[in-house]
């Protein structure tokens, strides 16, 4: 097994309802935060070209109570898909919390923290699903059907599975 680099992306199911992604970046927290919150920068990295997805529009009003809305299209999806919600917490250069409301109220809540460690910044992306069943379902639909009917927070990933299969 190759030695694990500090910059490696890790994913862990921390509990029945929690999924956590971590990655360390070579730069100060304020730059990582800027790349995350400024629309024109965010658009450049959120959808890597290899996904086959197109980000049609992206609006972010990054302040407490502010809303965001992302619209994607994919060749295998009949309609564009919209993802939206609002910011519950905004601590500049340190922390963002937002809701994922495309599946209705009471959806997944996402928390991202930016933790400066010397010249590097550790990013922890934490999804709290409303129930164990919701996370189970996201996993099951992602690995079996490839393109679920329910439009949950992970749909862009499901589209990726679909693209890989075709």
């Amino acid at each position: 097994m190759a030695a694990k680099k500090e910059s490696d992306t890790t994913v862990e199911r921390k509990s029945d309802r929690e999924l956590v992604v971590t990655r360390s970046f070579n730069g100060p927290a304020r730059l990582v935060f800027e790349a995350w919150t400024k629309t024109e920068l965010f658009k450049r990295w959120w959808v890597p070209k290899s996904f086959g997805l197109t980000l049609l529009s992206c609006e972010k009003d990054v302040r407490v109570g502010g809303k965001y809305r992302l619209v994607f299209s994919h060749p295998s999806a009949p309609e564009p898909m919209a993802f939206f919600g609002k910011y519950l917490e905004v601590v500049p250069n340190a922390r963002l919390v937002w809701t994922n409301d495309e599946g209705g109220e009471g959806g997944t809540v996402t928390t991202v923290t930016f933790e400066e460690r010397g010249a590097r910044t550790l990013v922890v992306y934490h999804d709290l699903y409303p129930s164990k069943e919701a996370l189970d379902e996201a996993i099951a639909s992602g690995s079996t059907s490839g393109f679920g009917e329910s439009f949950g927070q992970l749909d862009e990933l499901l589209v990726t599975f679909g693209a890989e299969r075709s």
Binding site: T10, R13, V21, W45, S50, F51, D136, L157
Partner: protein
């Protein structure tokens, strides 16, 4: 932690507790087979074999697909393996995304440096 795995383990162990079902898994490890072929191989009735395959399917160890009148069985990923595969694919998605973010951050750093030099002049 990880209570969610318990019932899945139970289903898998129950499925594996039977010698015929273990034999079926071994057989399917060599090649896919129809229920009829499996029934003949294990000298069973179609109904009996259907039952066994049903238990294996419930446990996620076998998947079946019906084409015309023939139901073909093949090894399926267990639910735990399925979850592991999903998490690895999810990780790849984030790795690709974060690689792009790396590039954006590098660019911001370069720009900041260049701006800093300009200001000092």
């Amino acid at each position: 932690m990880v209570q969610y795995g318990q019932t899945r383990f139970d289903a898998s162990f129950a499925a594996l507790s039977d010698a015929t079902r273990r034999g079926v898994l071994e057989q399917l490890g060599r090649s896919d087979a129809s229920i009829t072929q499996l029934a003949e191989k294990f000298h069973m009735t179609l109904t009996g074999m259907k039952k066994h395959v049903g238990v294996l399917e419930q446990a996620g160890l076998v998947t079946t697909e019906k084409v015309g009148r023939v139901r073909t069985c093949k090894l399926g990923l267990g639910r735990l393996e399925q979850e592991a595969a999903w998490i690895e694919a999810y990780r790849r998605l984030w790795a690709a995304r974060f690689d792009e973010l790396d590039n954006v951050i590098e660019e911001l750093k370069r720009k900041e440096k260049a701006d800093g030099r300009k200001k000092r002049k």
